[in-house]
Symmetry: C2
Subunit: 341 residues, 2 copies
DNA sequence: TGTGTTCTCGTAAACGTTTACGGAAAAACG
DNA sequence: CGTTTTTCCGTAAACGTTTACGAGAACACA
């Protein structure tokens, strides 16, 4: 069924070496011969076997994307990743690369699932998501000398790999700025308790902005919770019951914001009326919630494309002109003002 | 860096044939020898090169999942697929198979993107999503004799491939039953205008139930729209402006329901008060919408596992005892009663 | 005519496996 | 002790590519 390069060669009465060279556009092949080969390839419906090519070239022509689910009861995964994956895949496809998806054990950041990919050479590089502040997966890949890039920053591994992140720090600042401009001084911050790096970045921005405005940081207004609706639901009351009640809350995660709003509702506090709410990282949930939640929105699909681009630039086989390697990039978020603040 | 089977053989002073046999658990190798090989494999950190193995065995040990984005302006893709993918991947991983993700050109159901996978042998089988009533991709794969399975039914390709679907027909019926039981007689149905098969199935169930209750089907209460928020927003008024206004609407898609509710709001009609709303195929959006939308919920993660199971059972290399091949399965949805009906 | 260059192609090795085949040694059997 | 069977292992081919090497032919040039 599958026609091989040998079939082509036999059909054209020519050696497989020449066929291969013709197909791969090498210079040392007669123009007319190349034409015949190309034509025969079309009529015989030939395309090179990927395994054979991989074996010979020592490259699989595929990139693994590792999605690390959070533990917990989320019925639906994060919608975040579909558009990101779309962009990532689109760019990879342009370089004739496949996208492989690897899922980690929920909540387990050990590199076990990665080992298989690396050790059996199933992919040429890895893209990591849900980056933690300290991330075993990054340590593992660095140590193994396996090329990778990350969506999100980490403190692990140094500055040796491309990473693309959202500017959580700046978003934290801007959220505070906006709230202060609207007269708020007591602003709470609620973020995930996991070691996810963006939680730290957000808090840095939050603190920085508060200080800039001459507002003292009140630890009672900062709370960590589980990164889902339940976490937001549980932790929001803590903050609301501090001696001096906040007039605004910034949530660092959409699911936590929804849980938090539920808690607020039960306390008779209405977002947009009695309290201002801003969430960092918009999702459709924010848009359709009532009241619609003001949020900071990333451009996921372009980010996917970009990270693919950065990763490719770091791979010797795909690197363009020397010195174009991009190590880190941090993208701004766009504020989508809605009804909750 | 990468240790090959030759390194192992050299290290043990033994032939590569024996090493391979020992590793693959074949019978004709001495127990003690096997022990030594296994041990050496561990200390030398050996794992077989996937490309070499693929080439020799003529199988890639990976399955492609094709996601077909709808055209349109959806900022975030369908959250639907992440948990499905999780289940799919989990089951595949148990059989040491990789998951490759292929995205179609938005709205284009031509098998172009599939061609690459099939012709270059990049995967051993394909899983199709967003199945259309008539689906070129299915025709292509059937004709090519390439193994595949589908999430969702289609009329293409006959009964020759495993497929797993949600019971949209039954959900349509149950939605009508529930509404009728609550006193409704004028029930509208809004579904996507694309050739997506579930739209037909849903409508079949809707009609069937109406007839069973002795209610005449009013074409003015049935509308097709673009499968996103805008579509729901545009088409809902049509149905509301029919001579005899409906007292209930069943939406066949969550995004359309949200758009529809927006249109209703602008007409001063409140879901849950002035009109009953049920949506088929629940998402987090339904849960967090206000009022929370009553919806039918699939169990995505188990479905992913199951479809993987079915696909594997259809592959000669993985088939268990003969005759266990499952061709079609249709899973029920669970009603999640909330506030909108 | 002899020498050097260029163009084009064939040969064969290599990538890392798996496996059919055969053979030597050991065991079983009469 | 001779014969058959079993156990275990080495040899080598094969999967489908790519590519280093070399060689023949054609051509240019002196």
């Amino acid at each position: 069924m599958a026609s091989s390069i040998h079939d082509l060669a036999r059909h054209l009465n020519i050696s497989i070496g020449t066929v291969s060279r013709a197909l791969n556009g090498r210079a040392d092949v007669n123009a007319e011969t190349r034409q015949r080969v190309l034509e025969a390839a079309r009529t015989l419906n030939y395309s090179p076997n990927q395994s054979g090519r991989s074996l010979r070239k020592g490259a699989t022509h595929s990139i693994a994307f590792m999605l690390q689910p959070h533990p917990g009861d989320q019925q639906y995964g994060e919608p975040f990743f579909i558009p990101f994956l779309t962009g990532l895949q689109a760019r990879l496809a342009e370089s004739d690369l496949d996208l492989m998806v690897v899922m980690g054990e929920p909540g387990q950041y050990q590199p076990e699932r990665l080992r298989r990919v690396v050790e059996t050479r199933r992919a040429d590089a890895v893209v990591l998501a849900n980056t933690r502040r300290e991330d075993d997966r990054i340590d593992y890949l660095s140590k193994a000398g396996f090329p990778f890039a990350t969506l999100g920053r980490s403190q692990s591994g140094g500055d040796t790999y491309p990473s693309l992140d959202i500017d959580f720090e700046r978003a934290g600042e801007e959220a505070v700025d906006r709230l202060v401009a609207r007269g708020h001084r007591r602003i709470a911050a609620i973020r995930p308790s996991l070691d996810l790096n963006f939680g730290y970045l957000f808090l840095d921005g939050y603190r920085k902005a508060l200080k800039r405005h001459g507002i003292e940081v009140d630890p009672g207004l900062i709370a960590d919770g589980f990164i889902n609706e339940t976490g937001g639901y549980q932790v929001t009351p803590h903050v609301m019951l501090s001696k001096d009640r906040p007039t605004a809350i910034i949530f660092n995660n959409d699911a936590m914001a929804l849980g938090g709003c539920k808690a607020l509702a039960e306390m008779g506090i209405r977002p947009g009326h009695d309290i201002a709410v801003i969430v960092i990282v918009d999702t459709p949930l924010c848009r359709y919630f009532s009241p619609a939640l003001t949020a900071f929105r990333p451009s996921l699909e372009p980010m996917g494309r970009r990270l693919a681009e950065m990763l490719l630039a770091s791979l010797p086989a795909f690197a363009g002109p020397e010195g174009t390697r991009i190590i880190r990039e941090v993208w701004p978020l766009e504020l989508v003002a809605r009804e909750s603040d």
